[in-house]
Amino acid sequence: MKKDIKVPLLFLAPALVLMLIFMILPIFVSFYLSLTDFNVFALVDWSKAKFIGLENYRKLLNDELFWKALKNTLYFVAIGVPCAIIFSLSFAILLNRPDIIGRNLFRVGFYLPHITTTVAIAVVWKWVLNPRYGILNWALSLFGITGPSWLGDPRWAMPAIIMLVVWKGLGYNIIIFLAGLQNIPEHLYEAAQIDGANRWQQLFHITIPLLRPTTFFVTVMTLIGYLQLFAEPYMLTDGGPLNSTLSIVLYMYRQGFKFFNLGYASAIAYVLFGIIFVATLIQMKFRDEEIQY
């Protein structure tokens, strides 16, 4: 270890300057903006923006569309996160079996949607979900089910988006779960087998409890990611029908970059930040209490 401040500072400088300009300062500026009425006129001349205190936040409280977006996002999270966890955990446990043939092929296949851009995925899914010509309703028709008009029906549009998002992130979560599964000591299973525990008992008494830190981590990361839902509803439904898929970030984008109400949009961003912050704090608190084995 060298104790000289000049050299490390030289190595740090580019990253620090960039972080300061594009990350740290904007956090504060954004908060300040949320206290102003910065709009399309101020965009031309910054001095036109007026300080209005907490007015934007007060307006948010009475903004029906914002509440709708918040409710939609929470609905999306409440259904989407458990689905994501259950599916990825189940597949990870299956893929972790020593007798699985071609595990690598499965891993690659499941991971494919995650690495591809949401925009392209959304284009494809729009067609998959097409009520008349799409493969989803075609597949359902094989079982004698008439599928709904997914994206045209306010009741089904959000479930369709949940399906897409869960599908897309499955492979990522599976890989993290697989890594967690590999950390469970083999001898625990051997001991359980000697004691006569069957597969299900091993699953519920060893695998799932010992996987808890990983499950918790995946849950919170998924939650934080899902709270930022944007590209899927932007591409598939543009928030519709009847605003049933309008998410917080989509609403922020609309206010900020369509109507250029940048002060108001900043307030929305800060509310989102608050929600995510709370989620992160809860995670950190539980992480300290992580079980040891």
Partner: protein, 276 residues
Amino acid sequence: MKEKIFLIEKIIVHLVVLLGLIVMIAPFLWMLSTSFKSTKAIFRFPPDWIPNNPTLINYTKLFQTLDFLTPFKNTIIVAFSITTLSLLICSMAGYAFAKFQFPGRDKLFLGLLGTLMIPGQITMIPVFLLLKKLGLLNSYLGLILPGLASAFSIFFMRQFIRTIPDELLEAARIDGASELYIFFKIILPLCKPALATLGIFNFTGSWNSFLWPLIIATDEKMYTLPVAIANLGGQYQTEYGLQMAGAVIVVLPVIIVFLMAQKYFIRGITLSGLKG
């Protein structure tokens, strides 16, 4: 008897994961298939998985009429610049955090990690305003600069550089090597596996990035592929073949990189997942 039960169980498990695999890749196969179909063939029900009369018309239209070469070029320029510059900048910072002792180092590092929980939407508006003021909307710089320094990349490189023995650096210093020489000729070559992992990560991330280019690139000449495809969806709503061809073009390079480098991918994911 018990053997037989195990065999049946084994078959069921394989069937379940196989079904899962089909669900995961079917949309991609359909995308590929549809991109080679004429408009008439697209609206056939039940759908053909293999086009009857495959046609390149969607691709020729994309590149000739709609000039997809421009967004393709833009995406390549932006993704490559972000990847290489970010690797350089973040490994420099990672090196400073890993191998130097200076006042406030640990606090600075913790603060850096703290920024990981800031959602991108918070910084978006001020950065947009700043870049507008600097006249950098619709410019490569505007697309590239905000993506260069990342707390995660710095953290990732620091973790790796810490495993390089101090003695190696001390020996080089005694031999009179300059700090820059040490960084470029000793540290960076030893970091090849970490740089590859992170590079692939950053590359796919910036290749796929959507919201930021959507905000910064308002002029068609500066569109990246995801933005161009999103616009295609708006303007050519019913031309599914065209949209699919666009999707194939943005997805295919990433899939190829992924298939070649999946070992690194898995490593990157596990690292980011378990230690993040």
